[in-house]
Structure formats: structure tokens, C-alpha cells
């Protein structure tokens, strides 16, 4: 069973534990500047929205790469950058419609979310459940349950 990172912005408080966990996992450093997941703070609505790669099936980045440095991890479904192959041409960063693959000047390579090999550090670190790692086929289950509750489980519906 594949799993997906599932993001519920309603629950995000903007604490950036996810960004620190991500950079710590990949660089052994607490550095949001190097995180592959970013939290955006929309001040005038009070909304905080975490955003990262959704691991497209037909991934633009993977198809665009001229040296096939981005490959599919069959186990997790993640599109993974192979750093030894990557030449830092940045074509993938242009191809990606979502901006979630980015160049890293310090390494001369690109980086993107690789789902930490199946145990994403961001989801583990999130204190509110805004980021979870759940069954890829059922990311809508909680929303469906909430609507089902409204439809058939309230006193008025009986």
C-alpha cells in the first residue's frame, strides 16, 4: 500500500516543526532555509498553509530531466533525485508546475521531497495533525467521514 502526505491547512499553526524536521533529516541541521516543505503564512486571513511535492504519477520533473537523475521509488511512489547523477541543470525546476523541486546552491544539485524513504519526518514532527502520512487511496476519508456525520449522524437527520 502506498501512502501520501496529506495536508490539512486548517490545523496548521505555523510552528515550522516540519521545516526543521525536514532539514534535520536531510542535512543534520535545523534550517528551514533548506527544507523541502514550506509553510506559507497568509497574514490577512490568518491562514498557514504547508506545501510540498505531491509526487505526481506522470511527474513533469522526472520526464524533463535530461540525465534521468529523477527516478520513481517503487515502494513509496516518491520521485527521488539521485544526487550523484543530477548535473544541476535546473530544467526540472522549470518543468514542475508547482515549484516544489528547487536548486540548492551549496550542493549544485536540485532537491525535492522524497518522503524520507517511507517515514516522512515532517509528518512525524507536526504537532497538530496538519501533515499526516496516510493511505494514498483514502486521503479523503476523514472529510467523507465528517460529511457523513453531518448527513446521517445528527439528531435532526434521525
Amino acid at each position: 500500500m502506498q501512502k501520501s502526505l496529506h495536508i490539512d491547512p486548517e490545523k496548521c499553526t505555523g510552528c515550522l516543526q516540519c521545516e526543521m524536521a525536514c532539514s534535520f533529516e536531510n542535512y543534520a541541521t535545523f534550517a528551514p532555509a533548506r527544507s523541502r516543505i514550506k509553510v506559507f503564512d497568509f497574514h490577512h486571513t490568518g491562514r498557514k498553509v504547508p506545501y510540498t511535492c505531491t509526487q505526481c504519477d506522470e511527474a513533469w520533473c522526472l520526464h524533463a530531466c535530461p540525465v534521468e537523475a529523477i527516478t520513481l521509488d517503487m515502494l513509496t511512489g516518491a520521485k527521488v533525485v539521485n544526487e550523484t547523477t543530477c548535473v544541476g541543470c535546473k530544467v526540472c525546476t522549470i518543468a514542475c508546475p508547482f515549484g516544489t523541486v528547487n536548486y540548492v546552491q551549496e550542493t549544485g544539485k536540485v532537491q525535492k521531497c522524497d518522503l524520507c524513504g517511507g517515514a516522512p519526518a515532517c509528518a512525524e514532527a507536526c504537532p497538530t495533525g496538519a501533515i499526516t502520512y496516510i493511505d494514498a487511496n483514502w486521503t479523503g476519508l476523514n472529510k467523507m467521514a465528517a460529511w457523513a456525520d453531518k448527513l446521517g449522524n445528527q439528531p435532526a437527520a434521525a
Binding site: T13, G14, C15, L16, Q17, M20, A21, S23, F24, Y27, A28, T29, F30, A31, P32, A33, R34, H43, H44, T45, G46, R47, K48, A125, P127, T128
Partner: protein, 615 residues
């Protein structure tokens, strides 16, 4: 390790920027942030300097846990000699700025002298430079942040700045970062303004990567975060209701100072607390509270994001205040509300927004308005002088004063001097509800006796954040004590003061102490900084910091006579509630407190105390 190991020293007179290695001996003795910055200050500066002169220094300092995954590890402190009090000023802020400075590779920034013209400091990792701020001078905190992000072409830059209040030397001007987090008290913003320093913009991409024992640190911090999540206050109360959860609690126990401390219960408390913020407005059906918000690394998330009713008189035709922004915390809601008898939640939030926008401490501002309204009630101040009918409870007067104070317009200039100077000028110094010149926060020392002692002995003047015995006396954390008795309070106050100094100096937030004790702090410091940070050592560091601050104040000219409360709290009994008939029992507590502190009768450190603490 986990200190960056480097500090920036800026001489504003000479326009120089220098990098220095951090004094690691001091780091081990004073930890970081509050303690370490104060150590630098007391070693380098004469305690008698005029706070607003170039001889004063001002420090922005992070702690060893700032910028780490320890929960709430995002804090920084601004330390200087305060213009409101003449005592040590030390104001702590959250948001994201502190972690950004640490991630740029700096533990602290020390400013000396005074720039001839407005400047700002721009730090990009290892590179720091002073830049012209002529175009920023006169701008609000909000405009300054937006302008710098645009000009530097970096939306991820973090800004710590002053607004009009700091520029105009409002004596309780704040330093504000991330739009609505503030090093709020004691007028640190006025010192920044006196130096012609408008802002510090930081971009830190290096991160914090020198944890002594990373694996153990991650294990321990996860364990400690679980304690916060499982605790009723830090896991449910604070995220859901914020500090505003206290409004009804403190009112019920008869310790909500009302109308300049004339009363200690407010009939309008229910209109301005957590319940009111969660209740849909009659006008537009929307709840004032939009959501909660965390500071950097914080798994509690007590911050409020709030809106003002667009139809409210205060924001009519002012769309800049219609969006969501930093909302009312308990202290601000009290100071802008109960202290003045105002129960109009939207008016409080409008005044709160102006405090954020122009960089002004809402506690001292609101409490000073309380004194103004009392003088107006007595006929000492008139409508002609004030420009408004300033009777207790007037939301219009509150909004008007908030508009003119930061800008230094009209009577606002006098309000900006704080209640001690204002009441003295008009012949009623006893009506200033202050200690050492700083206004009280939201707890009446007649109803919470320990707080009276904590206020009287606080090193930065009246303050709840130097020794929050409310936790014990009201909430039963870590043990319940009777708020109406003096017995046991000297020891309790000392314990809270010392532990708070240690937490403040670590880079973590004091709100964690609703769930954590000193052992939890030591548990996290040891894997980050080294095994020498045992519980005993951390406890001693806290006590050492407290005594160092006290010693500075003594050298600045403070004596035991300044460890007192306004006459009102010592002679006028509370009129209602559980504390009815009581005055503060400070005279009973103070001598015992000096004894447990190891101080002489004049409140000075005894030789053996200095030796024991290594001072």
C-alpha cells in the same frame, strides 16, 4: 555546543560592524539570551548611564536552544538599561526573528553609541552591514517590514523594528518583529529609537547544526513535546483560548485590577475575555477570533489571530485594519479594557492593533490611560486638555489616546511618558499603579499576595513574567498555594524568579512551565549543550542571573525603598470578591524574601551570596 559561537558588535557612532567570538565561559555561567546579554551589559557598561544617551548599550540575544526543534525554541531577548524605570530592561519576544538570527550564525548583536542619521542593520548569514534608513524613518512597524522585504527582494527576510513610538521616545515603546510579536515592556523600543536604529533585517540560511548529541536531543525533545501536548493548560487551554482563558478566572478570584486598581473585579470581564472572542458578533455574525498561531518551533500555539468588526466606529473607512491580525492576549485585553473600565472588545482590538503597528507596550499604555481616566474623574484633567471626554469606560477615549500617543501628538506626548511621570506632573503620584516606574500587569496583589512580592522585587519593575506565582496561587502549578496568605510566598517567589531566569536564558518560552519544570529544561540543555547542564547547575544559573540583575539595579541607584507597591495596594482594601477587606501583605513578606535571597536589610547581595553564586 548549540551556541553559534559568534556575536556581532555594532558601534553606531563610528558606523562599524565587527564579529567577535562568544565568551564561552560566560555562556556556561549565564546560558544565553536574557542571562548572557545582561552579563555583557553589566561587564561593559556603567550602571548609572542615562538610558536614552549614547552611553547606553542595547543587545538582541538568542539562547542556546533558539533555532532548534525543542518546543518553543524561537525566542530572543532585548536587553538594555530601561528608560521607563532606570533599571535593567529585558524584554522577550517570539515570532520567527530570533531563530532567523541564530540561523544566520549569530548568538547576539550588541549596539553601542548613536548613529548620526537613521540606519538599519541588514544581516545575511555571515555578512552584516549598516544601511541608510532615511526612507524608513516615520514608517510604522508594518510598513517597515513590507518595505524591507520588497527592497531586499527577499520575502523570507525577518524584521525586528520600531514604529513611531520608538522614534518619538514613548517611554514604553516596544521592539516588534513579524508584525505582531514584541519585546514589549520597559521601553526597549525607545532606546532603539534614541540610537537612530530603525530595524534589524535578518536572513539566516545556515541553520543550527551543532547540537552536542543530536540523536539524544531529538529523542528528549519529542518526549518533552508529548508532555506539553498531554497537559491541560499547554495542550488544550492555551491553544484553544489563549492567555485570554484567564480573564474570567482572575475576575472570579477578585484579582482583576479595574479602573486604575480602584476595584479588583470588572463587571465587563465577560465581554472582553476568551468566551467573547469565540462568540459570533451580532453585527456580522463572525467570531472575532479567526484562529490560533504558533511562534517558531512552538507546539503550544497560544497566539491569537483576530478581526475587528468592519462597522465598528474605530475602523470605519480604515480598510488597513479590516483583515485578520495579531489578536488580544490576556494582558493587553486587561490593560486596554478592565484597567480603564472599557468593555468594547472591538475597541480593545483596535487599540491593540495600533500598539502592534506603532510599536508600543499595550500594558503600560493601557494602564497609563487608567491613571488619566482617574485624574479626569477627579477633575484634575479636563476635556479641553485631553481633547476627548475621558470617563472610565469610554471606548472612544481609548481609541483616541491610542491614535495620538505613539505619534506624540497633543496630550499623547504626556501619556507616552508613562503613569509615574504623568501623575507626578499633575500632583497625584500615588495614583501611578507602578513599581520602579513600570505599570502593573493584570493581577491585583491584594487578591494574589505572592504577586505583590513578585512585583515589588521584579528587576524590571512591575511585571508578571519575572515570577508568575499566579501559576501556583491560582492554577495550582506545580502545587496549589493559598493566594490570600503571605506565608510561604517569599520562598515561592524566589523559586519562580530563578526558574524563569533560567528558562528565559535558554531560548525557550516561559509558557512551557505550565507543564515543564526545571528538570525538563536541564534534560534538553544537556544533549544540546553538554552534560554539565545538570538540574543543579541550571537552577544555580537562574539564581545567578537574578542576582546579577539585582546587583546592576543596586549600582544604578535602586535600594530597598524601591521594592514597594503603590499606597493604594498597601492601604485601600479590596472592595469585593474573595480578597474583600485585604490589602497587600508586602511588609510581612519582604524581609523574609531578603533573607531567603541572601541579601542584607538594604536589599544588597551579602558577600557570601556573591561567593556562592560566583558573582
Amino acid at each position: 555546543m548549540s551556541w553559534a559561537g559568534k556575536i556581532l558588535r555594532i558601534n553606531l557612532t563610528a558606523g562599524t560592524v565587527k564579529s567577535e567570538p562568544l565568551n564561552m565561559d560566560w555562556a556556561h555561567q549565564y546560558l544565553g539570551s536574557r542571562g548572557l546579554a545582561t552579563k555583557y551589559l553589566v561587564e561593559e557598561m556603567d550602571a548609572k548611564v542615562d538610558p536614552l544617551s549614547p552611553a547606553n548599550k542595547i543587545v538582541w540575544a538568542t539562547g542556546p536552544l533558539t533555532g532548534t526543534m525543542a518546543s518553543t525554541g524561537g525566542r530572543y531577548t532585548v536587553v538594555t538599561k530601561g528608560p521607563l524605570t532606570g533599571a535593567i530592561a529585558c524584554s522577550n519576544s517570539g515570532g520567527y526573528w530570533g531563530a532567523e538570527l541564530k540561523m544566520a550564525g549569530w548568538d547576539m548583536v550588541i549596539f553601542e553609541g548613536r548613529s548620526a542619521k537613521p540606519v538599519y542593520l541588514f544581516i545575511q548569514d555571515d555578512v552584516a552591514e549598516l544601511r541608510d534608513a532615511a526612507h524608513l524613518w516615520g514608517k510604522t512597524v508594518w510598513e517597515t517590514e513590507a518595505t524591507l522585504k520588497k527592497q531586499l527582494q527577499d520575502p523570507q527576510v525577518r524584521v525586528s523594528s520600531i514604529g513611531g513610538a520608538g522614534e518619538n521616545q514613548v517611554l514604553y515603546a516596544a521592539v516588534v518583529n513579524d508584525l505582531h510579536r514584541a519585546a514589549g515592556r520597559s521601553g526597549v523600543g525607545a532606546v532603539m529609537g534614541s540610537k537612530n536604529l530603525k530595524a534589524i533585517a535578518v536572513r539566516g540560511t545556515k541553520g543550527v547544526g551543532n547540537i552536542a548529541n543530536p540523536k539524544e536531543f531529538m529523542r528528549v525533545t519529542y518526549e518533552k513535546k508529548k508532555i506539553l501536548a498531554d497537559n491541560a493548560v499547554t495542550g488544550q487551554g492555551l491553544p484553544t483560548y489563549g492567555t485570554q482563558v484567564l480573564m474570567s478566572v482572575i475576575n472570579e478570584i477578585g484579582a482583576l485590577p479595574t479602573r486604575n486598581h480602584r476595584d479588583s473585579q470588572f463587571e465587563g470581564a465577560k465581554d472582553i475575555g476568551a468566551e467573547a472572542m469565540a462568540t459570533p458578533r451580532k453585527t456580522d455574525g463572525k467570531k472575532p477570533l479567526v484562529t490560533n498561531q504558533a511562534c517558531f518551533g512552538c507546539t503550544i500555539a497560544c497566539g491569537r489571530v483576530q478581526t475587528v468588526d468592519k462597522g465598528h466606529f474605530s475602523v470605519e473607512n480604515k480598510p488597513q485594519y479590516w483583515g485578520a491580525s495579531g489578536g488580544l492576549e490576556y494582558e493587553a485585553a486587561w490593560a486596554l479594557g478592565a484597567a480603564n473600565g472599557v468593555n468594547d472588545l472591538d475597541a480593545l482590538q483596535y487599540a491593540n492593533l495600533l500598539c502592534n503597528e506603532h510599536g508600543m507596550d499595550p500594558i503600560s499604555f493601557g494602564a497609563t490611560i487608567g491613571a488619566v481616566m482617574e485624574l479626569y474623574d477627579m477633575g484634575v484633567l479636563t476635556k479641553e486638555q485631553l481633547g476627548v471626554d475621558a470617563k472610565f469606560g469610554s471606548a472612544q477615549a481609548l481609541a483616541h489616546f491610542a491614535e495620538i500617543t505613539a505619534k506624540g501628538e497633543g496630550f499623547g506626548k504626556e501619556i507616552g511618558q508613562g503613569s509615574r511621570r504623568l501623575t507626578a506632573k499633575y500632583g497625584h503620584p500615588d495614583l501611578s499603579m507602578t513599581v520602579k516606574g513600570q505599570e502593573f500587569p493584570a493581577y491585583d496583589s491584594r487578591g494574589i499576595q505572592g504577586m505583590g512580592l513578585a512585583y515589588a522585587t521584579s528587576n524590571r519593575g512591575a511585571c508578571h513574567l519575572r515570577g508568575y506565582t499566579v501559576a501556583s496561587e491560582v492554577l495550582g502549578i506545580p502545587v496549589k498555594t493559598d493566594p490570600l496568605v503571605a506565608e510561604g510566598k517569599p520562598d515561592l517567589v524566589k523559586a519562580f524568579q530563578d526558574a524563569t531566569a533560567a528558562f528565559d536564558s535558554s531560548g525557550l518560552c516561559i509558557f512551557t512551565t505550565f507543564a515543564w519544570g526545571l528538570p525538563d529544561l536541564a534534560d534538553q540543555l544537556a544533549p544540546a549543550c553538554g552534560p554539565e547542564f545538570t538540574l543543579e547547575n541550571v537552577a544555580l544559573i537562574g539564581e545567578r542571573i537574578w542576582n546579577m540583575e539585582r546587583d546592576f539595579n543596586n549600582r544604578a541607584g535602586f535600594t530597598s525603598k524601591d521594592d514597594t507597591l503603590p499606597k493604594r495596594l498597601l492601604t485601600e482594601p479590596a472592595k469585593t470578591g474573595p480578597a474583600k477587606g485585604l490589602v497587600s501583605k508586602l511588609p510581612e513578606m519582604l524581609p523574609k524574601y531578603y533573607e531567603v535571597r541572601g541579601w542584607d536589610k538594604e536589599g544588597r547581595l551579602k558577600a557570601e551570596t556573591r561567593t556562592r553564586l560566583g558573582l
